[in-house]
Each structure stands twice: as C-alpha cells, then as structure tokens.
C-alpha cells in the first residue's frame, strides 16, 4: 500500500484507469471515471455503488467547478476515492479537502512541509461542508441532538 502525502485514505489506491464520463455512461464495467469542469456530475449519481475512483479535472486552478462536483458527490453518499487532478496548488488543498477530495494528483510538485502547515493551519471553520469539520455556529450552540 503506497503511503502518499497526497492521499488521505486507508484503502489501497485504485489501479483501473479513469474513463471519461461519456465512456462511463456507455458501458457497465468501468470503476473509475474522470470528470471535466463542464460535466454534470449528477449523471453519476445512479452509479455511485460501482465506482471506486472519481477523478475531477482542474485544467486551471481558477476554474472552481470541481469544488461543487466534489460536494455533490459526497452529499449523494459517495464514499470512494475522490481525486483532484491537474492545476492543484497547495493553497487550494484545504478548501478541496473540505469539499470532500481525499486524494490529489497535482501537475506541479507540492512541498510536503508547506502542505502539512497548510492543512493544519485553521482550527475553526464557519460553515458546514463535505468534511466532518464542525462549523463554529455548532460550537456556539451545542451539537444538535442526534
């Protein structure tokens, strides 16, 4: 099992290649799919049970559509690997983690010390997202009863 600082999962990395959304929807055997910024990730929702890896492309870091794609998938109950690939920079990683990404394939190398500092920097967050972080308003008013 590879121990990558850019992978935040305990299971073994998925080996199958990720196919495009169109290719995935056209056949039943694929277990890994790649989402481009313009794809509608909700088309995957009926198939989440068979998917082990979803790779979300970030051709340019300014295009933030992938953040919505990630949250939508986690909100739908997807528990497989959710990878951000491409122009992924260390300063975006904390936000991406909050949106549910648990692995990263950046085009440019990310310094691991900078990464660690970045991920552990913020103790508090204001809003709920796809991670388990408790938003400040919950801390202020106590957790709602389960």
């Amino acid at each position: 099992m590879t121990d990558s600082p850019l992978r935040f999962r305990d299971d073994a990395p998925h080996e199958e290649p990720a196919v495009t959304l169109d290719a995935f929807l056209g056949q039943t055997n694929a277990t890994a799919v790649r989402i481009e910024p313009g794809d509608d990730v909700r088309e995957l929702l009926p198939h989440l049970g068979q998917i082990a890896l979803i790779e979300v492309a970030f051709p340019g870091f300014r295009d933030g559509r992938g953040y919505s794609a990630a949250r939508i998938l986690r909100e739908a109950g997807y528990t497989g690997e959710l990878r951000a690939e491409g122009d992924v920079l260390v300063d975006q990683l904390p936000l991406m983690r909050r949106c549910g990404f648990d692995s990263f394939a950046p085009r440019a190398e990310i310094d691991s010390a900078t990464l660690q500092a970045s991920l552990s920097r913020y103790e508090h967050v204001y809003q709920g997202a796809a991670d388990g972080a408790v938003p400040v308003w919950k801390l202020r008013h106590g957790q709602p009863r389960p």
Binding site: R65, Y67, C99, Q127, W137, H141
Partner: protein, 548 residues
C-alpha cells in the same frame, strides 16, 4: 455592533498568518505571480497603477471609533496619510508595500478588522443600509443577517473560485438606500403575517443585478425566505452560479449574464431544485445564532429625555442641518451625514487627521458607531439633536462640514486613471471641475437632489449607470473622452442611465453637465427632481440642447 468571540478572532488571526506565509513564499520565489495573484486578491491586495493597494473590509459599512482610529494609524504608518472610502462601503489604501501587508493585517486584526475577500472571484463584502438601526422605515435592522452571511461566506470552500466576483446587499426597508437591486444578490427583509396573523420576518431575494460592461437591474427570484432557510437558499443560489456561470469570457462571467441568458424564472427554478436538496444537509445555523448576533445590534441606550428642539440661529449650521441631517426613529436624535466631497477635494478621500476627528465624534456623540455609505460618505447614526451644533463645529474645523448631501456637489467618483490600472480616463479631475463649476451652494440647492456618478472605465466602480447624471471615461485614440448618460437610479425605482450621444473632452463634459442642468431648470414642474423631469420629458430636450 458585532463583537468577535474567540472563534471569529481565531479565524482572522489564522488568516493573517496564512497570508504572511504566502507573502514569504512569493518573495522567496517559491510562488509565481500567477499563483500568488488570486491569493493576494482574496486578501484585498491589488497591484495598481502606482503601488499595491489594500482594500480593508468594513462589513456592512459599520465600524467603531476604535476601528476608525486604527484606519488613521494605518494611513500614517504604512501609507501616505490618507484613505479612500469606496462605493462598497470599504476603505482603500493606495501606497502599500507587499512586505508590510502582513503586518498591516496583523494590526487591524487587533481591532477585529480584516481584508478578507474584498477582491477575488469570491463572495465580497456584504453591504447594507447606512441608516440601519436608526431609520424609522426598516422592518428590522438588516445587519445581523449581513453578519450571518459574512460568516457563512468567509472562506467558503465551494465558492472561492467562482466565475467572477459576487456582491450581496441586505436592506430592510422599502426605500433602497444600498442600491440592492444592482447587486448579484439583493436581500430585502420584510415582515409577513403567518397563518395565525403573527408577523414573521423573512427575506425577498433578488438576483442578477450589476453594473460594469452590461448593467442589469436584479430580478426577484424568491418571494419569502425565513432566517432558518437563508443559508441553504444562498448555498443553492451560489452553487447554480458556480456550476453554470460562464467561464469563457471574463466580461460575461457575472451572474447577471447567466440570468439574462437562461432567464430569471429558469434560474429561480434551478435554485429551488438545488435548495430542496441542500436543505436536507443541515447547513442552516439555528435561529439561536441569528438571535446571538442580533443581540449585538440592540438599540443603544437612548436618552429618552433628549430634547427634540434645535437652535437654528447660526445660518451656516442651519444650512448643514437641512441638507446633511436626517430624521432618526428615536425622538431627540438625528442621523448625521458627513460629506467627503469638499469642492476642492477628492471624492471619498479623508486624511488620517480627518479620520481621527470622525472617530472621536463617533465615540463621543454616536454611541461609538460610524457608517460608510456607498456614496463614499460617512454617517454618525445616533446623534442627540442637542449635540448637533457641537458636532457640526468640530466637522467644520476639520473640513468635513460641506453641506452637499445628495446634491450635484456630492459626486461619486471612482479613483480613475490617477490611481487605477484598469482605468481609461481620469475621473477625479472631472469631478473637481464639475464641483467647481457648481461651487455655489445656493445653486446646488436650487438644483436639488442630483446624483452624479463618474466612472473612469467600463467596470463602473463609480456606478455611473445608476447616476441621475452618469459620466463614463473612455479612451478615444489615446485621448480621454467622456460619455454622458441620464436617468439612472440605484434606489427602489432602479433604472439604468441612457447615453445622450457622442462623448466630450474634459472641458466639454463639464459644459455638458451644466447644459443638462439648465434644461432641467427650464422644464421642471413643481416638486420634480432632475430625475423626475428627465423621466417625464425624455431624452430629446437634453439631446437637442447638447448637440443641436
């Protein structure tokens, strides 16, 4: 006003350290400018025409005397002794050094201030009514809702890389004093009776307004949202924009273009669909959180015995009183407007000394509270009538008593080509020439309410589309040229100005403004403002007078 708890302070302090690290990595070369630029913009740091410019947030335009003093201190210590108040209720410092920016942010954090998300393709400073908490016509103070949304939008992980900037305004009255209908999302708080006849507070939501290259007035997309649904509803609205806003062309990337292209009804439908899903996620804070925030905005301890009468015997004081002072909901009190538009000045600019004077007046006479308006002026919201004379004297001594609120001399002007790398023409010299032409206060008062707004480029930071008279500076083969527009309004009667015809040079535009005011004087009927006369007679008489 709102006070940080340990969580708010922790978040702002951490941001300072994060930015300090980012600056270090930029200066060392670990980060390129291309990688660093969005990060510094998300901390309000621009590279402008002459230097770095820092835009400090003034959330919903509210600040304390202590915070004002800090701004004066920053102006002295790190800048060149002045600041510029903006059309989004923020303040800008024009001569910042990158290697000092983290220290500035650290200093302002000690008084609960920041520069978070005052630029960048993210949710910007949430603006509000400068008379909040003082005006008699509001359903409630809108600012607790603005604070709730400020927190929700801060470092929102899904909405930090939107197609373009996103501006939200919150008001709570029928009269729109914050140009709410010219925002990406506008929120109007109001009360509705529920099925038992009890008044319930909720919000009407507008979307798709904005100025810039293609101005639009916002459409109503939701009739009534209650506080416990607001966060989910806005999540849905932003998510639809993030997913479907155009990313192929920065001039077509605002939500106003998306709504124009798919239609407001379709946008509203998509938001409703997303909202139904988002609502199940438990993202909405409990009402207790809004209540907690609202407690900070409780009415100040007004002196219920404060006399309601005034000594108007000083004629200069009386002039200022009539023009700049507005009624307060509490008997014995008044709302003071401080004009930052002296005739020979720079609209919206204040020296460090002037900022200190205003800070002291706020602390001493206005329950330690001041406001910034989107017209680039300052407000002391809660002044006892008995103190107005002393306040006016202090303002007058500091050059802050120009009695021109909402008159033609109360010009809104962006910094323009004198400061801004985006500009095509200078706006401030034009504002000064116009103010000089109309220097006579009697003349200004005769013209009455006349909102003149100047932008130095198509980005419209001067809000010229919303000017009764609007001026847009353009580049005509390397020479500054100025287009004139008439009939815009940022109030509840929102409308976009129409261009009169060919543009003018710097002297020509001043004459043109005078010409159109003369047409107004010749045509006006009893009680009509410039805007009313224009709407009644149309463009034709103005066009004829300008071009023959």
């Amino acid at each position: 006003m709102y006070q940080y708890d340990q969580y708010d302070q922790s978040i702002v302090d951490t941001r300072v350290e994060e930015f300090r690290d980012q600056v270090k990595r930029r200066l060392s070369g670990e980060m390129t400018e291309d990688q660093f630029k969005p990060l510094r913009l998300m901390n309000g740091l621009y590279l402008q025409l002459h230097a770095y410019m820092l835009r400090v947030a003034v959330p919903y335009g509210t600040l304390s005397g202590k915070q004002m003093h800090m701004l004066a201190h920053i102006a002295r210590k790190y800048d060149r002794g002045y600041g510029h108040f903006t059309t989004r209720q923020n303040i800008q410092f024009n001569w910042i050094k990158l290697d000092e920016a983290p220290d500035i942010l650290a200093e302002i954090a000690t008084v609960e201030m920041h520069a978070i998300q005052t630029s960048g393709n993210c949710i910007r400073n949430i603006s509000s009514d400068q008379y909040a908490g003082a005006a008699a016509d509001e359903a409630t103070d809108p600012r607790p809702w603005a604070e709730l949304l400020r927190q929700w939008s801060t470092f929102h992980p899904e909405f930090s890389y939107l197609p373009r900037k996103f501006k939200i305004a919150v008001i709570a009255a029928e009269e729109d004093r914050a140009a709410m209908r010219l925002h990406d999302i506008g929120i109007q708080l109001l009360k509705r009776p529920d099925e038992h006849g009890n008044a319930v507070l909720g919000a009407k939501i507008y979307a798709g307004g904005g100025m810039g290259r293609t101005p639009f007035v916002a459409h109503e997309i939701k009739d009534f949202v209650t506080a416990d649904d607001l966060t989910s509803y806005l999540e849905a609205a932003l998510r639809v924009y993030n997913r479907y806003g155009r990313r192929d062309n920065i001039y077509k990337a605002r939500i106003k273009i998306l709504i124009h292209e798919i239609g407001a009804a379709e946008y509203a439908r998509q938001v409703e669909e997303e909202f139904a899903h988002v609502k199940t996620l438990g993202l909405d804070p409990p009402l207790a959180e809004l209540e907690r925030i609202s407690a900070f905005f409780a009415a100040p301890a007004f002196d219920t015995a404060a006399p309601d009468t005034l000594d108007r015997s000083d004629p200069d004081f009386a002039v200022w009183l009539d023009q700049n002072v507005k009624p307060h909901k509490q008997p014995g009190y008044a709302i003071v407007n401080i004009s930052l538009k002296p005739t020979v000045g720079i609209p919206g600019d204040a020296s460090a000394d002037q900022i200190d004077v205003m800070a002291d007046l706020g602390t001493r006479y206005s329950f330690d509270e001041l406001r910034v308006t989107h017209a680039q002026n300052i407000v002391l919201p809660h002044v006892r009538k008995a103190d107005l004379y002393a306040v006016w004297q202090a303002l007058d001594a500091a050059g802050l008593a120009t009695a021109n609120l909402d008159l033609i001399g109360d010009i809104i002007a962006c910094p323009g080509l004198d400061y801004c790398a985006l500009a095509n023409a200078r706006s401030i010299p034009v504002a000064q020439k116009i103010a000089d032409r109309f220097a006579s206060l009697d003349r200004q008062r005769d013209l009455g309410e006349l909102k003149l707004k100047i932008s130095g480029c198509i980005n419209a930071c001067g809000h010229h589309h919303a000017g009764h008279i609007g001026i847009l500076g353009v580049d005509k083969k390397g020479i500054e040229n100025y287009q004139l527009s008439l009939g815009g309004s940022g109030a509840e009667d929102a409308s976009l100005g129409k261009i009169t015809g060919p543009g003018f040079d710097e002297d020509g535009i001043v004459d043109a403004v005078e010409t159109v005011t003369n047409v107004y004087l010749a045509q006006r009927e009893e009680g009509e403002r410039f805007l009313d006369t224009y709407r009644r007679v149309g463009m034709e008489p103005f066009k004829v007078a300008l071009y023959g």
